[in-house]
C-alpha cells in the first residue's frame, strides 16, 4: 500500500495550526492582561522562540524527505481458508 507523503504533512500541518491558534490566544492574554511587565514580555518571547525552534528542528530533520513521493507499506498477507467440508 502506498501512502502519499504529503498526507502525513497535512496531518502535521493541521495539528500545527491548532497549536498556533492556541498559542496566539495564550500570548494575547499575556500581553493584554499581563500588566505590561518585563516578565510578561520576556516569557511571551521565549515561548514563541521555543515553538519556532521545535518547528525549525523538525523541518531540518525531515529536510531530505520527498514530500511529492509516497511511502510503501507492506501489509502482512493474511489468507483465510474457508474450505468446504
Amino acid at each position: 500500500m502506498d501512502i502519499p507523503a504529503f498526507a502525513i504533512l497535512i496531518v502535521y500541518g493541521a495539528v500545527l495550526l491548532v497549536v498556533i491558534v492556541f498559542s496566539f490566544f495564550n500570548v494575547y492574554h499575556v500581553l493584554r492582561f499581563g500588566m505590561h511587565t518585563t516578565a510578561a514580555y520576556s516569557m511571551s518571547a521565549i515561548y514563541v522562540v521555543v515553538v519556532a525552534l521545535i518547528v525549525i528542528g523538525t523541518w531540518l530533520t525531515l529536510g531530505g524527505v520527498d514530500w511529492g513521493g509516497s511511502f510503501t507499506v507492506e501489509l502482512p498477507d493474511i489468507s483465510l481458508d474457508f474450505g468446504t467440508r
Binding site: V11, L16, N26, M43
Partner: protein
Amino acid sequence: MNHHVDFPGMHPDEQILLLRRKHWSVVAHKLLRYLGLALVPPLVFLALNLFGVRYEIDADNLSGVLLALGLSIYLLVLWMMFFHDWLDYYLDALIVTTERIVRIEQRGLFNRVVADLTLDRVQDVTVETKGFVQTFLHYGSLHIQSAAERERFVFSDIPEPELVKAEILKHVRRETDVGPPPVSSTAKTTNTP
C-alpha cells in the same frame, strides 16, 4: 509603590501599593512535571540503546518520518500546556491600591474574574499557613472578610502573607481613621509530617 505597573480597570488617580502573585512553587512543580515528560523520549532512546536496540530517525522510511513528526507534536503540545499553566499562574494577582483591594483570577482562556473590595469595607484579615512546605517557604492563604456576611476574598498560595496582612491593615486604618481598628487574626495549622 509600583508606579510602573498598571492593571485593566485601574482608576486614573489610583496608585498600586502592593502587588502579589502566587508563590513561585506553584508554577515550579508544574515546570518539573513538564520537564519530566519532555525527557521521556530521550530516556526511552537511551534505554533502548543500552539494550542494544539502536534506532535513528531516517527521513527515507515511514516510521522515521512518523517518529520525527510525532516527537515534534509531543514537544509542541507539552510546551503549549506549560505556557498555559504559567499564564494561569501569572495572571492571578492580589493588588492593594490606595482605594481598594483587587483580586484578579484567571480561570483558563477567556474566563477571568476581577473582584474588588474598598478599603473602608474590610472587617477582618486572616492568614492561614498550613503544612511543612508552606511554613518553610513562607507562604499561605489570605482571607479578607468584608462588611457583607459572605466571605468574599480568599487568595491562596500568597508569599509572605503576614506582610501583606500588615500592609492591608495599615491602609485600612488610614482609610477609616475613626473607631477601633479592624480585627486581625492569624490561624496557623501545622501538621506534623
